[in-house]
Symmetry: C3
């Protein structure tokens, strides 16, 4: 029997960086006993993004931050939109360079993620935020 | 009752920049009375992209263009594929750095977009083009 | 009748570069006589990505590689995570700058790709790898 389900996750961030929430998504799948179908995650913000990446090494997370801080520097004089601060426009650009949408097949009750893949929210603003991720499942 | 529907939007661009078409997508959802399901947008080009971003400030749009013009400069001697002009290969690279696919849940007749999120076509070529976006809805 | 189907493609890579596999995906669609629905591709790795791009010119492929080699250089001293070699962290960053998820509508038995669009696996590591792409189709 085909069915669909909606959910929303709230994720609290404490400044820039990667926040893994793979387990929260797995819990939702388990609680609803989704077996086979398609899972969609949509982040409802323009200054943070979703990322599937290495879930093991903390130095990978540090290096991501270091690379993006150099690629899209805060306070870059190229930016005119600075009303919310030096990190405002860089956060929009970092979001555009990554993504706010993920589509993950679910098979036999498990997301089709690779061994080293985790699901992260990437906060691009320097201050704390509460971020919302819309979840949708369609399948059996 | 599960059903699906296909549609195509044609978007005329007049040079580089962001062209919002959130309202055109909403109209298609309303006309067909889609209630709950998954909306997919696929842009059928390799030198323009789709972007979900800030729908308010024109200076945000200007800054996006300024940043990308510096990151992937026209006429960069690193590029050999220049047959269609100085902006040809940079347009492909900008497309690769963003995306041509979006997946957006639809709940109670509305896309699960955040307050500030709009859907944009990002034209990366300097001349005018007609761009096609394939729309697909699956749900109830 | 709505139905869904799962499949896995294994793609062998021989160092950095773009490997087209559009035909392999088309074959799966034909063999199963999928007519209308949504196709999802998910790459199960963190150092390679999926890309929809120009399927004609080899110099486009060369230029992509040249641009990314300059943007995310191997052995960049900014990176601390070097345990798997100079190309390790750059491969993660290149993956984050592109994507591991694609959603493509299928209409009348054909993917809604544009004339020049092909589906590529982008290998970001310098050595050979075997990469897995999870395929999912939902529709009629």
């Amino acid at each position: 029997m085909f069915r669909q389900s909606f959910h929303e996750l709230a994720i609290s961030t404490r400044g820039r960086g990667l926040y893994e929430f793979t387990r929260e998504v797995e819990k939702w799948i388990e609680q609803n006993q989704f077996r086979d179908g398609l899972l969609t995650l949509h982040l409802q913000h323009t200054s943070a993004s979703l990322l599937i990446q290495e879930n093991a090494s903390p130095d990978v997370r540090r290096d991501f931050e270091a690379f993006f801080a150099r690629l899209v520097p805060d306070g870059d004089p190229i930016f005119e939109h600075t009303i919310e601060g030096d990190d405002d426009m860089p956060a929009h650009v970092r979001t555009a360079l990554t993504t706010v949408n993920l589509s993950i097949p679910v098979h036999n009750g498990e997301m089709a993620l690779g061994t080293w893949q985790g699901i992260f929210l990437w906060e691009h603003r320097v201050h704390s935020h509460s971020r919302r991720v819309a979840l949708h499942f369609m399948g059996e």
